[in-house]
C-alpha cells in the first residue's frame, strides 16, 4: 500500500469506500493515479464477520446520529435508524443482499415517460440508456452477476420454491433467482455461495461481491492507493479560485488531519455526502459546496418499500439460503392503469429469528397476533416490495443545527413526505405479495409499513440544467469542476432497481472521464 503525503496536492481524494468509492479508487489507481481513500469505518474481514445475532449490526452499521422529520412513517417507526447503511471498509457493499437488477430503459427518462406529476420533481437523466447499458455490461462482468454473460442463476432454495410457485400461479412470467452479484460457482478469486443466509452479516466465503475483498485489495496491489481507515471527513476545503484543494478529516484517535487534493470525489452515501457538502460552506460558498442551485440534499429517494410475511401449514425454513435471491420482474413496467406511475420489483426476502419481529413486522403487532406468526417461524416465507418512489424537492437532507455529533458538527436531518404515488404503489405491491403467498398456501399474511432507507439515492443528482441538480452526466459538480459525487446520490431518479449495479456502472464511467480530464490537465 502506498503512503501518500498529506501535503501531496496531486492526489485524488475519495471519501467513502463502498460501491462507488471503492470501484472508483481501483479504476483510478490501476491507471497510475494516486488515490487517498478515506473511510470512516474500520476494516473487517471474512474472519471477523459474525453470525452471532446483533454483532454484525453493531460492527457494520453507520450508527452515528442523524434525525428524521416529515410525514413518512419511518420517522415514527424507526426514529433512531431512518437510513440503514454501513460504516466499514467496503461501505454498504458489506451488508447488502447482492441484488443487481438494471434500471429499465424508460426509468432514465422518467420525466418524459411519466409526464408532469404534481408534487414530484422528476427529471430525465442527462445520459442515454444506451450509454448506461454499456457500463451495466462492464459492471455485470466485473461483479460476476448471475444470469448475465453465461453465469448460471443461483439454485432454488426452499424459500424460492414457495416464491416461484405462488408467482406462477398468479400468472407472473419473469420469475427467477435474480440477477445477483453472488457467485453461483467459484469465480473472481472468490468462493461460491454455500447458502448460509447471513448475507447481511457479511459473506464469510466472499461469494457475494463487495469492494472490501475485490476492488480495494486490487487497488492496493497497484501501489497507488493509500487507504486510511477510521478517518471521517468533516470538511472539504477550496482555494480562492473556488476549486477544491483538500479534505479535513478526523483520524482514528479523533485528531484533525488535512489531506491536500487535486480532485475530491465524495462517495459517503446520500445522507453523509449531502451533509459533508453542506458542512463545507464558506464565505465564497455560503450554501455549501456545489450548491449555488440549492439542490444539494434535495430529491432524496429511498424506494417505496414494504414487506409481506406469510405462514404456511408446512415447514419452509426460509433462513436456509440466500436472503434475497428471488425476483419477479413483471411489475417493473410503467402502467398507469394500475393507479400509479412507475414500477416495482417483488423480491424474496428472509430474516433471521431475532430480526423478523423487530424489523419485518409492523410496529403495532403484538399479543396473540404476533405470537401466531412467530410460532410458525419455521413455516414462514417473505417478500420485499422495492419500487420507484417519486422524487420531491422538499424531501431532502439538511443540517440539523440543534443536534451535534461528537465533533460538535450538526448532524444530518432526513426529511421525507412520501408522494401519494408511493402509497398507491406500496398498496398494490403488498396486495400482490400477499396474493402470491396465499396462492402458494399461506394461511395468514402480515404486511409491514415503509421500511428504513436501505437504498439512499438522488440527493445530489445529475442534471443537464445546472438549476435542476448538483452534478453533470459525469458526476462532476456544476459549480466546481474538480469536485465529484461518486455514490448513489448522483442518480437523477431512483428507478425500481436496487441501486448498487447502477452505482458501479456510473463509477466505471466516471473513472474514465476523470482519467481523461487529468490526462489533458483540464482538472
Amino acid at each position: 500500500m502506498a503512503s501518500i503525503s498529506h501535503d501531496d496536492s496531486s492526489a485524488v481524494v475519495i471519501i467513502g469506500s463502498g460501491a462507488g468509492g471503492g470501484t472508483l479508487a481501483h479504476e483510478l489507481t490501476r491507471r497510475g493515479i494516486k488515490v487517498v481513500l478515506l473511510e470512516a469505518g474500520a476494516r473487517q474481514s471474512l474472519a471477523t464477520f459474525s453470525q452471532v445475532p446483533g454483532e454484525a449490526f453493531g460492527q457494520l452499521t453507520w450508527l452515528e446520529p442523524r434525525t428524521a422529520s416529515g410525514s413518512w412513517t419511518v420517522k415514527e417507526d424507526y426514529p433512531t435508524l431512518p437510513s440503514w447503511t454501513c460504516k466499514t471498509v467496503g461501505g454498504t457493499t458489506v451488508h447488502w443482499t447482492g441484488a443487481t437488477p438494471r434500471a429499465q430503459p424508460w426509468e432514465v427518462r422518467s420525466r418524459t415517460t411519466y409526464g408532469q406529476v404534481d408534487g414530484a420533481s422528476l427529471i430525465d437523466w442527462p445520459l442515454e440508456y444506451s450509454e448506461l447499458l454499456h457500463y451495466y455490461e462492464l459492471a455485470e462482468k466485473r461483479m460476476v452477476v448471475t444470469r448475465r454473460n453465461g453465469n448460471p442463476g443461483l439454485p432454488a432454495s426452499n424459500h424460492f420454491k414457495v416464491f416461484h410457485y405462488g408467482a406462477k400461479k398468479l400468472g407472473y412470467q419473469r420469475v427467477h433467482t435474480g440477477y445477483m452479484a453472488i457467485n453461483s460457482r467459484p469465480a473472481d478469486d472468490r468462493g461460491m455461495c454455500i447458502q448460509q443466509g447471513f448475507c447481511v452479516q457479511g459473506c464469510k466465503v466472499a461469494a457475494k461481491w463487495s469492494t472490501l475483498y475485490t476492488e480495494i485489495p486490487r487497488a492496493e496491489a497497484t501501489g497507488n492507493l493509500d487507504l486510511r481507515v477510521e478517518s471521517r471527513a468533516v470538511r472539504i476545503e477550496h482555494g480562492k479560485d473556488g476549486l477544491v484543494n483538500g479534505v479535513v478529516y478526523r483520524d482514528a484517535k479523533g485528531s484533525e488531519q488535512r489531506q491536500l487534493a487535486r480532485i475530491v470525489c465524495v462517495a459517503a452515501n446520500s445522507v453523509e455526502t449531502s451533509r459533508l457538502l453542506l458542512l463545507s460552506e464558506s464565505s465564497k460558498y455560503p450554501q455549501g459546496l456545489a450548491n449555488s442551485s440549492d439542490q444539494v440534499g434535495r430529491h432524496f429517494s429511498h424506494h417505496t418499500g414494504g414487506f409481506a410475511f406469510g405462514v404456511f401449514d408446512q415447514p419452509i425454513r426460509f433462513w436456509r439460503g440466500t436472503t434475497l435471491a428471488g425476483l419477479v420482474e413483471d411489475e417493473t413496467r410503467h402502467d398507469p392503469k394500475r393507479g400509479f406511475a412507475g414500477g416495482y420489483h417483488l423480491e424474496m426476502l428472509a430474516l433471521d429469528l431475532p430480526s423478523i419481529a423487530l424489523a419485518g413486522f409492523p410496529q403495532n403487532l403484538w399479543g396473540r397476533d404476533l405470537a401466531y406468526m412467530m410460532d410458525r417461524y419455521s413455516n414462514m416465507a417473505g417478500i420485499f416490495v422495492n419500487g420507484e418512489d417519486l422524487p420531491r424537492a422538499t424531501n431532502r437532507i439538511t443540517l440539523n443545527l440543534a443536534v451535534k455529533d461528537q465533533f460538535g458538527l450538526p448532524v444530518a436531518n432526513i426529511h421525507v413526505d412520501d408522494h401519494p404515488n408511493n402509497a398507491a404503489m406500496r398498496a398494490h405491491g403488498q396486495r400482490q405479495a400477499k396474493a402470491l403467498l396465499e396462492a402458494a398456501g399461506a394461511t395468514r399474511v402480515v404486511l409491514s409499513r415503509q421500511t428504513p432507507a436501505t437504498h439512499n439515492m438522488c440527493a445530489n443528482r445529475m442534471s443537464k440544467d445546472a438549476r435542476d441538480g448538483v452534478v453533470n452526466a459525469h458526476g462532476q459538480a456544476h459549480d466546481i469542476r474538480n469536485l465529484f459525487v461518486s455514490d448513489g446520490s448522483a442518480m437523477s431518479t431512483p428507478s425500481s432497481a436496487n441501486p448498487t449495479l447502477t452505482i458501479v456502472a456510473l463509477a466505471l464511467r466516471q473513472a474514465e472521464y476523470i482519467a481523461k480530464q487529468m490526462g489533458s490537465r483540464a482538472i
Binding site: 453470525q51 452471532v52 445475532p53 446483533g54 448471475t146 444470469r147 448460471p152 442463476g153 443461483l154 439454485p155 432454488a156 432454495s157 426452499n158 424460492f160 420454491k161 414457495v162 416461484h164 410457485y165 420469475v175 427467477h176 433467482t177 453461483s184 460457482r185 467459484p186 461460491m192 455461495c193 454455500i194 447458502q195 448460509q196 443466509g197 447471513f198 464469510k204 466465503v205 408446512q314 415447514p315 419452509i316 425454513r317 433462513w319 436456509r320 439460503g321 433471521d352 429469528l353 431475532p354 423478523i356 419481529a357 423487530l358 410496529q363 403495532n364 403484538w366 399479543g367 396473540r368 404476533l370 405470537a371 412467530m374 410460532d375 417461524y377 419455521s378 402458494a440
Partner: protein
C-alpha cells in the same frame, strides 16, 4: 449456570430476583445441570421484575416457551434500568398498569396494556421483548431456527432445498447446484 449459593455481597447488591424451573423434558432441561434457575436484578425489585415478565408474556404470548426465556428479557430491561430516566419511565408505566398486573389473566393484561400502546413505555418494552426473547439459544431451540451455519459449511449440502411439498423449480428459472463438474 447459576448456582444456588449466593455469597453475602450478592445478597446485599441484588435489588430483586426472578426464579423458576425449566419445563420438564424441554430442550434446555435436557441440557442444563439443574432445572431451577434464578435471575438477579440490580435495579428492579422482585415485584417490578415479575410485572415486567408478565408484560413480556402479554406482548409475545408463546404458551409453551419457558419462563426462563422471558426472564432473560427482564434481565436485559434491568440492565437498561441502570439509567435513571429509564427506571423512572418503567416505574411510571408499571404504576399505570396497577399492582395486580403480574397475577392478572391474559385478557385483563391485554386490556391494561392496550391504552398504553402509543406510550414510550410500551414501545420500549415491545422492542426489548422482541429483541431479547428471540435472540437466545433457548428461543432458537423452541422456534426451530438453526442460527450460525458457517461452521457447518452452509446449507448447500444441509437441507437448503429439501422442501418436497411443492414442485421443483425449472432450471431455466433457477440454476444448478455447482459440484465442480
Amino acid at each position: 449456570m447459576h448456582t444456588s449459593s449466593m455469597d453475602r455481597r450478592q445478597f446485599i447488591s441484588a435489588t430483586g430476583v426472578l426464579t423458576g424451573a425449566l419445563l420438564a423434558g424441554s430442550a434446555l432441561a435436557l441440557l442444563a445441570p439443574a432445572r431451577a434457575w434464578a435471575v438477579d436484578l440490580s435495579a428492579l425489585s422482585t415485584a417490578e421484575g415479575s410485572a415486567l415478565m408478565a408484560v413480556a408474556r402479554t406482548l409475545a404470548p408463546h404458551d409453551t416457551l419457558e419462563d426462563a426465556a422471558y426472564a432473560l428479557v427482564v434481565k436485559a430491561i434491568d440492565g437498561a434500568a441502570g439509567d435513571a430516566a429509564t427506571l423512572a419511565m418503567l416505574r411510571e408505566g408499571l404504576a399505570r398498569l396497577g399492582p395486580g398486573f403480574a397475577t392478572a389473566n391474559e385478557a385483563e393484561r391485554v386490556a391494561a396494556l392496550t391504552p398504553l400502546e402509543n406510550t414510550a413505555f410500551f414501545k420500549f418494552l415491545r422492542a426489548q421483548t422482541l429483541l431479547n426473547l428471540y435472540a437466545s439459544p433457548l428461543a432458537y431451540a423452541h422456534f426451530g431456527y438453526e442460527g450460525e451455519v458457517f461452521s457447518k459449511g452452509g446449507y448447500l449440502l444441509h437441507g437448503f432445498n429439501d422442501l418436497r411439498w411443492l414442485p421443483e423449480v425449472p432450471l431455466a428459472d433457477s440454476g444448478p447446484v455447482y459440484t465442480g463438474a
